[in-house]
């Protein structure tokens, strides 16, 4: 038997091959033996050579997370449960939202995914059409239509309502027009100035997503479970103001394509149908851009630029977190929360602070940023008695 070769750093492919061959013969060595010691040293030398010649760097954190989930047999629903929100999970996996320190800690603690592999910087897309829950949405549609069939005539009503809907095709090139409308006495009564989504900061967009549609990037225009929940609430509290559960896309459909139509089952059905068509025709970013430029903010303000101007004398790009949260509080009931009306201010601040909490929950801002923002007084540049 020949004596084992001396231990020395591996410098060539031939030495690497020879070391691997020897490792193979030693691989069953029992711990504590000379053979095991030699195996261990050879392995370290081989690993060092391979790392130098063929370095294998980790992929970016989303690829690591995706792989780790598959390796452990986990699903997006598991991730949603861990991160506390379906939209958060969807956006992380689709690179629309960066992993926060809190998320990384949870993944490391609960699933054992090494924090250092999740901490590297990686590009986050501004967004793209979310198709992640298409299967679920399709199932939901089937469930909705099935329920309608059981009810007897609702399916036919859906068909009838859908048949007379306006077209969504022209929305692809539609740009909300800048507008200045004056009343009979010459005072400005309605104002809109279009601003592209690229000029609206992420925290402003995040405020609206948190306040109005946490699952925006995950749904196909409507959220059937939210509608079921809202229907349940309306049944439980028949005297109160009905809950709507409209997604951002449904709100856009209502504002753009069904203006002035009073609330009804027919309008709700049409909203859903139009929302699906809008989602099929436009990107999520485009939907957001149209929504933010179309919605009514109370007073004379239509669209985010007019609202920022009306309430804070600012451009959207200059809004603080607290101001963004306040504006995101408005679409629910614009004239109920306008702070240029004194009696609204307490409830407006309550609603703004609620939005800030949702923004922190969804990772758009940190918890401490929300705390500081809550401490800011809510005042408008324009005060009315």
């Amino acid at each position: 038997m020949t004596a084992p070769a001396a231990i020395k750093p591996i410098r060539t492919d031939a030495e690497h091959r020879a070391a691997l061959a020897e490792i193979e013969t030693l691989f069953d060595a029992a711990p504590g033996t000379e053979a095991a010691d030699r195996l261990e040293v050879l392995t370290i030398l081989v690993a060092a050579y391979e790392q130098k010649q063929h370095p294998i760097e980790a992929p970016d954190p989303v690829a690591v997370l995706d792989f780790a989930m598959r390796a452990q047999g986990r699903t997006q629903a598991d991730l949603a449960a861990l991160l506390g929100s379906r939209s958060r999970a969807s956006e992380v996996l689709n690179r629309r939202r960066a992993l926060t320190r809190d998320m990384i800690d949870k993944l490391a603690t609960a699933w054992g995914v090494p924090a250092d592999l999740l901490s590297a910087a990686y590009p986050v897309r501004a967004g793209m059409p979310g198709a992640l829950k298409r299967g679920l949405a399709a199932t939901a549609v089937v469930a909705v239509l099935g329920t309608a069939a059981l009810a007897g005539t609702i399916g036919g009503m859906v068909w009838a309502y859908g048949d007379s809907l306006p077209s969504t095709a022209e929305l692809a090139d539609y740009v909300p027009a800048d507008m200045r409308r004056y009343d009979e006495s010459g005072r400005l009564a309605a104002y809109r100035r279009f601003v592209p989504l690229s000029a609206i900061p992420a925290h402003v967009v995040g405020a609206f997503l948190a306040a109005e549609d946490q699952d925006f990037y995950a749904h196909d225009g409507y959220d059937v479970w939210a509608m079921v929940r809202a229907a349940g609430q309306n049944l439980m509290h028949p005297g109160s103001k009905p809950a709507g559960a409209s997604t951002i896309t449904q709100q856009l459909a209502k504002n753009l394509l069904l203006p002035g139509k009073p609330p009804s089952f027919e309008r709700k059905t049409q909203e859903v149908l139009l929302a699906r068509r809008i989602e099929a025709a436009l990107s999520k970013e485009r939907i957001l851009e149209l929504y933010l430029n179309e919605i009514y903010f109370g007073g004379r303000a239509y669209g985010i630029a007019a609202a920022a101007e009306q309430y804070f004398h600012k451009r959207p790009a200059d809004l603080t977190v607290a101001e963004a949260a306040y504006l995101a509080a408005l679409p629910k009931a614009p004239n109920h929360y306008r702070i240029d009306v004194a009696e609204n201010r307490d409830r407006a601040k309550t609603r703004r602070d609620w939005v800030l909490g949702r923004m922190a929950d969804d990772g758009f801002i940190t918890v401490s940023a929300a705390t500081f923002a809550r401490a800011e007084p809510l005042t408008s540049a324009v005060q009315r008695p």
Binding site: T43, Q51, I56, F67, G112
Partner: protein, 90 residues
Amino acid sequence: MIVIGTDQLQAWWSRHPQAENPLRAFVALARRCGADTLREHFAALLREDDTGRLVFALPGGVAIEARLHAPLGILRIEAVTVTPATRTKG
């Protein structure tokens, strides 16, 4: 854990680019695993044959055949192959 035999991986993903991220992630995670937690962390991808060889059926249609020396914490990649269709569902 020390992972060796990684010299084969780049050659593989240069021919099968869809396997690059899974292979990189596999190595990164395996290096950070203990021998005692390896099976837990790769439970959904891993099977073990009668001889003790570990076969990881990774996303991207690639399978890694490896041997584990648990007491020394060594994972030796023996072969990189196409994942048989029957394994990709695992």
